[in-house]
């Protein structure tokens, strides 16, 4: 991508208005056909999610009915209230699970934001030996899934004495490669003259970082925060945390879900609760995320 385009990309390409005029090389037939195709695929893609939600609204007798219905006949919130009753009866209170999740998510995300943006800032804006190599290693590390690095990680965390504490989840989350990657790519779009101007005015690196760069990359913040929250929300941490009072909400909910046939209704409710949070977060931050992703491309 040329330099000129890069600067155009900074000016919020996602907010730019589409040209109203029809493109001259499009056939109407093709537009209609592709539109119908898209609609059909969207319906298929969305169906399981709709079905999961409607399942959670069904009373128990309808859940076991044959032939099964897609939409509930008498939608109720019974499953959700049952779920709360079950959670309330557990030895560890619901609020404790919620606190665990919120604590892990908040601390993990905050630390990740600070540490990753500090790293991304120098990687994007300064040229020093080892810069490129380090970034290349980070992009390779984006491919590693949780289980692949799981065993040595467990041994390391065990040696550090963090097993069965919150830190076993929080500290590795600080180093997530995805956040650094997105932040660095976005910061590269910032004009270098801005930083030079601040330096001539006598600001040191820390001032440039906290006063000039960070306020200018808010969309990237949001994206980093959201990816981090999504990751930590879904983190069941079952390998690191054994004490019931330190388990996360999702883990506790999925334990209820695994309770067999008697918990079918509550299981359906759990499915919805677990999935709705990340989706809602995404809906409210979509434009910011897309703005950041516009600079996510990998150059070789």
């Amino acid at each position: 991508m040329s330099k000129k385009k890069r600067e155009a990309a900074v000016e919020k390409p996602y907010r730019k208005k589409l040209i109203r005029r029809r493109k001259p090389n499009r056939s109407i037939g093709g537009d209609v056909a592709l539109g119908i195709f898209l609609l059909l695929v969207a319906a298929i893609m969305f169906f399981p999610i709709v079905y999961a939600v409607s399942n959670a609204l069904k009373p128990l007798d309808e859940l076991f009915m044959f032939p099964p219905r897609i939409f509930a006949k008498n939608p109720t919130m019974d499953n959700f209230s049952d779920l709360f009753v079950t959670m309330g009866k557990s030895w560890v209170t619901f609020t404790r699970y919620l606190f665990n999740t919120v604590f892990i998510t908040a601390v993990g995300t905050f630390g990740h934001l600070i540490i990753a943006s500090m790293g991304a800032f120098v990687l994007a804006k300064y040229d020093f030996p080892g810069n490129r190599t380090f970034f290349k290693i980070v992009t390779v590390a984006m491919m590693f899934s949780y289980y692949v690095t799981g065993i040595p990680n467990y041994i390391l965390i065990n040696k550090l004495g963090w097993v069965d504490t919150y830190w076993a989840i929080i500290i590795p989350a600080f180093a997530s490669p995805m956040g650094l990657f997105l932040m660095k790519q976005f910061m590269e779009g910032l004009p270098t003259s801005l930083i030079e101007a601040a330096k001539i005015d006598g600001a040191n690196e820390w001032r440039v970082f906290s006063g000039i760069v960070m306020p200018n990359v808010k969309p990237a913040w949001m994206t980093l925060i959201i990816f981090s929250v999504q990751g930590l929300w879904n983190n069941r941490a079952s390998t690191y945390i054994y004490s019931e009072e330190r388990k996360t909400l999702v883990y506790a909910l999925q334990q209820i879900q695994a309770g067999g046939i008697a918990r079918t209704g509550q299981g359906a409710a759990v499915l919805v609760v677990v999935m709705i949070v990340p989706i809602l977060i995404f809906v409210f931050s979509e434009s910011q995320i897309l703005e950041t992703m516009a600079s996510s491309g990998l150059k070789d």
Partner: protein, 312 residues
């Protein structure tokens, strides 16, 4: 020859000195990078190195690791038939769902791109939602239930395409294909978002130049203008697609059971999970992880060299 070497080393020494001076000047940069670099090394670089080290040992956490040479690899490749099933399944999933999911991501992002803005926002949510919906995919277990109550069985029997219910999730013949279907459903992830955003950033003037130069239809426009402009995003999407394709394990474990019938839905990561977290044969599990690392990195290299040729 000697002269060549002495010159080479003199040059090397000079380069190193220059780099050292530069590094000294950039002290603050290292300070900024240090917290991330230390944690990253601890949790992402160290595990890879440690995996390679442990893969040459017998290690069960309780006793200290005992060096056994290549024994783990030999028994993995020659004696462990289940691992080979896992490799076959992983490759099958990677070869089919990887490219297909990748192409789907790009294709739908491209179609969505032409819609008016608010429709586009809704469409992005709809397509992206499955990949962030937690374990929502277990709902497919209801659709593909093995008795006549399952939707797919009921539908197929209703239309007379089969006369008895099929055990979609327990019959080794179908398991892996159903899993692929579910993985495809979830494959429009981060790469898809990158494509959507990247398509928005393509310079309009290039399309207009294209009309003048006689780009006849949307497919030509796609190949000659859009794709070359999207190359960086395509690279990023490829990394994401590899991650997803080789990391498959939650879907197969939760849909087909763990262990699955005849190990027919076993993947490399499931095998790793089995040895690492159920049998605690860490050395053996690390050998599996090392093989997986190698596969991922090679695959990444291959795709990158392939993508360099797009649109030329």
């Amino acid at each position: 020859m000697k002269e060549f070497f002495s010159k080479y080393f003199a040059l090397r020494k000079h380069n190193a000195q220059v780099a050292w001076k530069k590094a000294k000047l950039a002290k603050n940069c290292y300070l900024f990078l240090a917290p991330y670099a230390i944690l990253f090394t601890m949790f992402f670089v160290f595990p890879v190195v440690a995996s390679i080290y442990f893969s040459f040992t017998y290690y069960n956490i309780l006793e200290p690791p005992r060096f056994i040479g290549l024994h783990n690899y030999i028994s993995l490749l020659l004696e462990d038939e289940i691992f080979l099933v896992g490799v076959k399944n992983t490759l099958l999933i990677a070869v089919i769902t990887g490219p297909l999911g990748y192409i789907m991501s790009f294709f739908f992002a491209w179609l969505i791109n032409e819609l008016p803005r608010w429709v586009r926002s809704v469409a992005v949510v709809i397509f992206y939602a499955p990949s962030i919906a937690g374990n929502c995919f277990v709902i497919f277990a209801v659709f593909f239930r093995g008795d006549a109550y399952g939707y797919v069985n009921a539908l197929l029997m209703h239309f007379g395409l089969q006369d008895a219910p099929k055990f979609w999730l327990t019959d080794p013949k179908y398991m892996i294909w159903i899993c692929m279907l579910v993985i495809l459903w979830m494959s429009l992830g981060t790469g898809f978002l990158s494509f959507v955003a990247g398509l928005q950033g393509v310079d309009r003037a290039q399309f207009e130049a294209g009309y003048v130069d006689g780009v006849k239809n949307r497919w030509q426009e796609l190949w000659y203008i859009t794709l070359p402009n999207m190359k960086p995003m395509l690279m990023f999407g490829a990394v994401m697609a590899i991650t997803q394709a080789f990391g498959v394990c939650d879907v197969t474990m939760q849909l087909c059971g763990y262990p699955s019938t005849d190990y027919a839905a076993r993947t490399i990561v499931t095998h790793l999970f089995d040895y690492g977290f159920s049998r605690f044969e860490m050395g053996y599990a690390c050998a599996i992880a090392t093989i997986l690392f190698l596969m991922m990195i090679l695959c990444n290299k291959a795709i990158q060299s392939l993508l360099r040729r797009v649109g030329t």
